[in-house]
Symmetry: C2
Subunit: 80 residues, 2 copies
Amino acid sequence: MIKARVTVTLKNGVLDPQGKAIEGALGALGFDGIGQVRQGKVFDLTIETADREKAEADLKAMCEKLLANTVIENYTIALD
Amino acid sequence: MIKARVTVTLKNGVLDPQGKAIEGALGALGFDGIGQVRQGKVFDLTIETADREKAEADLKAMCEKLLANTVIENYTIALD
């Protein structure tokens, strides 16, 4: 069994209203010096195989097909 | 300026309907051997300070107050 973490983040230049809202909320809570906040998603998956290369190829396909919108998002894959 | 990444994930035992939906969707797309999928959030922040200890303490306070619901979520903080 392989554990993997896929992290999906917005590409630079893509507007992130959710991140902007968090920036504002942190300021309102009294935290100063907050530069920029960008929000992304993380997926923790377990895959029932021992073949790390196949797992990585599968994960890449999953990202391209479902987990990330590659027009506006980047993804990184980390195997445990 | 310090870059930080906060990762917020559901605690074990907390139901994750979004993760379950992704599991189902990956199965429907023909990916087999998917064990479990859990979805979480990631926040990329920049903080305008050079004091790493203060930044880490601030980030912990931000997680406790805003970024994570500590009843059902865990968080990890990573400084660049």
